[in-house]
């Protein structure tokens, strides 16, 4: 069995599955249950400064979008940081860490952007025996209106400053949690690195209005007739999170900076994808909130079996393996030619590939042959766009197949050379570097 033990900036856990800072990690009761279920670590629900805790709304906090059969695809929330007192949280953290020494316990912190505030809370957290801290620069609603959370995470200079204070006032490893509500995630990541962070974690939730109540004409969730933008998470945000993780992993300035991947992790496969794009471990929130803690069993077993199948001995063997294959569009091989192929034995003749290609792509799929309903790709029209593959309801029924060098692309009449050539040297590119003189 593959070794799933995780060492993330020196923080050890039996597996790379942590619960993200959120309701699942709000108190000892939940965290004890999570550890019993097998989670490798938790990032405790974000702590605020000493004094009266924040209050949450007393109406609905969540909204959702669904796929078929009410499968939850995206969750939106307007919850704030912990609404329990700092002292209670610290006491519980200490007890839990004592009970579960082999599990990772990270404290998530959000206090005002003042040196004194950070200086005050860090020793208190350290005293609990927590393995590290996570700086919550992400929360996009409520806290950001008070100059915290995303309001800090959107200003790289503030990030750098706060990280620096933390590195100064604690020996604990510092993980900086980034908000996706920015235009270029590399900027805050670079700032965190400049401040001396040990790692970044991302993404926090995305600003969103999940839906509108058409009777009330108000956003969901609606609290006494009004709604506000909330943070979006769950399976729907995974593609955005993956890209942001990859951007940081392949940025020369932050390459190698440990990343804790967050956003839509629901199955072992999602986790493996985050690891491949450079994450050292993953954090999960919505999936646990949807199905309960037991899902971690599937994640552990799935990841282990896949690693065994592929011969990956440990997590280091997969972390970052896909990063080198993430490139800019301009470097994609324009001489690579692929055509869609329909497996007639699998085809159930729904016609979706035809109408998708006919109405919105390249009119490359016939709907009839010898007077009979029949769907087949016409190579002289197919541009290999993959749309039909994506819309076909049958697994593996349509595949995109690369044309072998030496064959002729019927659409262009050109021979497939098999030689790499990209946009930077393409004749249609006004900025093309002077092509080598032919022969």
């Amino acid at each position: 069995m593959a070794d799933l033990r995780n060492n993330f900036v020196g923080i050890k856990s039996p597996n790379p599955f942590w619960l993200a800072s959120a309701p699942p990690t709000d108190k000892a009761y939940n965290v004890e249950r999570a550890f019993k279920a097998g989670w490798g670590g938790v990032v405790w629900k974000t702590l605020g400064e000493e004094g009266p805790p924040v209050v949450n709304v007393n109406g609905p906090r969540y909204g959702a979008i669904y796929g078929a059969d009410r499968r939850l695809l995206g969750l939106n929330n307007i919850e704030l940081i912990t609404d329990r007192s700092l002292q209670i949280n610290l006491r519980e953290m200490k007890q839990v860490k004592m009970n579960w020494p082999d599990r990772a316990l990270i404290a998530s912190i959000m206090v005002p952007c003042e040196e004194e505030a950070w200086k005050a809370i860090l020793p208190l957290v350290e005293e609990t025996g927590a393995d590290g801290i996570e700086l919550n620069f992400g929360c996009p609603h409520g806290m950001s209106e008070r100059g915290m959370g995303a309001a800090v995470g959107q200003v790289p200079e503030y990030i750098e400053m706060v990280v620096r204070w933390c590195k100064q006032y604690t020996r604990m490893p510092v993980i900086t949690k980034l908000t996706p509500n920015i235009t270029d995630v590399r900027k805050p990541a670079r700032a965190a690195k400049a401040g001396g962070t040990d790692a970044v974690s991302l993404i926090n939730t995305i600003n969103s209005i999940v839906s509108v109540d058409l009777d009330l004409f108000a956003p969901n969730p609606t609290v006494a007739g009004k709604g506000t933008h909330g943070g979006y998470c769950g399976p729907a945000v995974k593609p955005i999170a993956l890209n942001m993780v990859a951007e940081i992993a392949r940025d020369p300035q932050t390459h190698g900076l440990p990343i804790s991947g967050i956003g839509g992790v629901t199955t072992w496969r999602d986790a493996a994808e985050f690891l491949a794009l450079g994450a050292g471990n993953v954090q999960v929130c919505t999936a646990a909130m949807t199905y309960g803690f037991k899902i971690v069993e599937e994640m552990i077993s799935g990841l282990g079996n896949w690693m065994d199948d592929k011969g990956h001995a440990n997590l280091e063997a997969i972390t970052g393996r896909a990063v080198r294959n993430v490139t800019d569009w301009q470097y994609l091989d324009l001489n690579y030619v692929a055509k869609a192929r329909i497996n007639q034995d699998l085809c159930i003749s729904c016609g979706r590939c035809h109408i998708a290609c006919e109405d919105t792509s390249h009119q490359a799929i016939m709907k009839e042959k010898d007077g009979k309903r029949h769907f087949e790709v016409m190579d002289d029209e197919c541009v290999g766009c993959n749309l039909c593959v994506n819309v076909c309801p049958v697994d593996d029924c349509i595949t995109l197949e690369a044309m072998a060098p030496g064959t002729v692309d019927e659409r262009t009449g050109r021979i497939v050379t098999g030689e790499y050539a990209n946009w930077t040297t393409h004749p249609n590119n006004p900025a093309a570097k002077a092509a080598e003189p032919a022969e």
Partner: protein, 446 residues
């Protein structure tokens, strides 16, 4: 289904009073909102959808299912009713396993078609419960049309003609409108007086006057209709029945299956409806199956269907045959009735000859068998009860062309009484509707 009382002869009250309602409740209970949305989500929204092409009325199935999936049940109902104003009944009685659901690509993919019939019922029930009408009549054309028969064909024709602004009078010999929807369809397919509710829903458009108790060919002639109306549509179904031509078929206890079913459909209290202890039904179609199953549901101890050919030749669908078997009916193939056995004028059994195909011909093998019976139902096909004295027939039905025109100018026909298509409710609706379109075009041209 509890075992009925085993009293000899044809008697009522074989079951405990509360068992009747159970036995005759909805065969396929309706979908609730959640079930409907889950089922609707299974539809792939196929291009040029095979299901739609397999529907005799060509309902835009992917569209109405998508409308259900998006919470637009009324839009779904409108999509259905545009093509099939009897979409509510069709949702209940169509042999979907031979029509839309057989063609559904998910049938091919995984043997589990989208349950189109139940979804159709979900949408149409919703609109009808709300008495939501989707059609308005065009300005009056001043034209009048006579329709004979208030069954599916006649009602569909009348509705479409009324929409176009014509005035329609329907004549029907029975005391209630609806045709076989009211008098023929198995009661577990159309519960809660649905047929009458549907007649009311269809005629609510206005411009349709139904006159019951008037029989074409008896109370009035084709010529009289032609003189009084601008056009005539005949949709009188098959009102006669074939004779068995077996010895002693008049013995007491022998009846036509369609008459038994009509009586059952009209019975206010099923516990008062007498049924035999041992019932034999002769025939191989939907009528035979319905008569047999409902005999069983009334508490008959032993019910046999006898059919002179094999399973494949039965016109009852496989689903219907399985249903019969599941309800405890025995289907005996390759047996032809020779003689009704009786004692003191009362039936006691049926003598059957074994049959076989010999050189492509159905032959009796010479061997015989007597099945004990105290009640025998004949379900060997219905016949046209009037040709109006002038209409050309083909295969015992009124010959029509693709537009529903008969051999007599100004007279159209559709449904079971006319050639073309299967004898199904949905086919009758399609033919009635299409004939109405053609009548309209013809009347405008004059």
């Amino acid at each position: 289904m509890a075992q009925g009382d085993v009293k000899q002869g044809i008697v009522s009250g074989r079951l405990a009073p509360n068992q009747y309602a159970d036995n005759f409740s909805d065969l396929h209970p309706p979908l609730d909102r959640h079930e409907a949305i889950v089922e609707a989500d299974r539809c792939y929204f196929c291009y040029d959808a095979p299901c739609m092409n397999a529907c005799p009325t060509t309902i835009d199935i992917p569209m109405f299912i998508r409308e259900i999936a998006t919470g637009n049940g009324m839009g779904a109902a409108e999509t259905i009713f545009e093509q099939n104003i009897l979409g509510g009944m069709c949702a209940r009685v169509c042999p979907t396993e031979q029509l839309c659901e057989e063609a559904c690509v998910r049938e091919e993919a995984e043997g589990k078609p989208v349950r189109i019939g139940l979804l159709q019922r979900y949408a149409t029930d919703m609109a009808m419960a709300d008495n939501r009408q989707f059609f308005e009549r065009a300005a009056s054309t001043g034209k009048t049309i006579a329709v004979v028969g208030a069954g599916p064909a006649g009602l569909a024709a009348a509705h479409r003609l009324a929409v176009k602004g014509h005035e329609v009078t329907i004549y029907d010999s029975r005391p209630k409108a609806g045709g076989l929807n009211e008098y023929g369809i198995a009661s577990y397919k159309s519960t809660d007086q649905f047929a009458q509710a549907e007649v009311d829903y269809v005629t609510a458009i206005g411009g349709i006057n139904i006159i019951n108790g008037k029989t074409f060919g008896q109370d009035f002639t084709l010529q009289q209709l032609q003189e009084r109306y601008d056009a005539v549509f005949l949709g009188m179904g098959l009102g006669g029945v074939n004779a068995l031509r077996a010895e002693n078929e008049d013995a007491e206890g022998v009846a036509n299956a369609v008459d038994f079913i009509a009586e059952l459909r009209q019975a206010g209290d099923l516990s008062g409806l007498p049924i035999g202890r041992r019932v034999v039904v002769i025939g191989g179609g939907m009528t035979a199956v319905d008569a047999a199953v409902q005999s069983k549901l009334l508490g008959a101890e032993e019910v046999n269907i006898v059919y002179r050919r094999g399973k494949e030749q039965m016109s009852a669908s496989e689903f219907e045959q399985d249903l019969a078997a599941a309800k405890g009916v025995t289907i005996r193939h390759w047996m032809a009735p020779r003689r009704v056995v009786s004692e003191g004028g009362r039936v006691t059994g049926v003598e059957l000859a074994y049959t076989a195909m010999v050189d492509g011909q159905l032959r009796e093998t010479g061997e015989t068998l007597v099945l004990a019976a105290d009640q025998v139902f004949k379900a060997i096909g219905q016949t046209l009860n009037s040709d109006g004295g002038a209409l050309e027939l083909a295969g015992g039905k009124i010959a029509v062309d693709e537009f529903g025109r008969t051999s007599v100018s100004g007279v159209w026909a559709g449904g079971d009484c006319a050639t073309g298509g299967d004898d199904l409710t949905v086919t009758a609706v399609a033919e009635g509707r299409d004939a109405a379109e053609h009548i309209h075009a013809a009347l405008l041209a004059t």
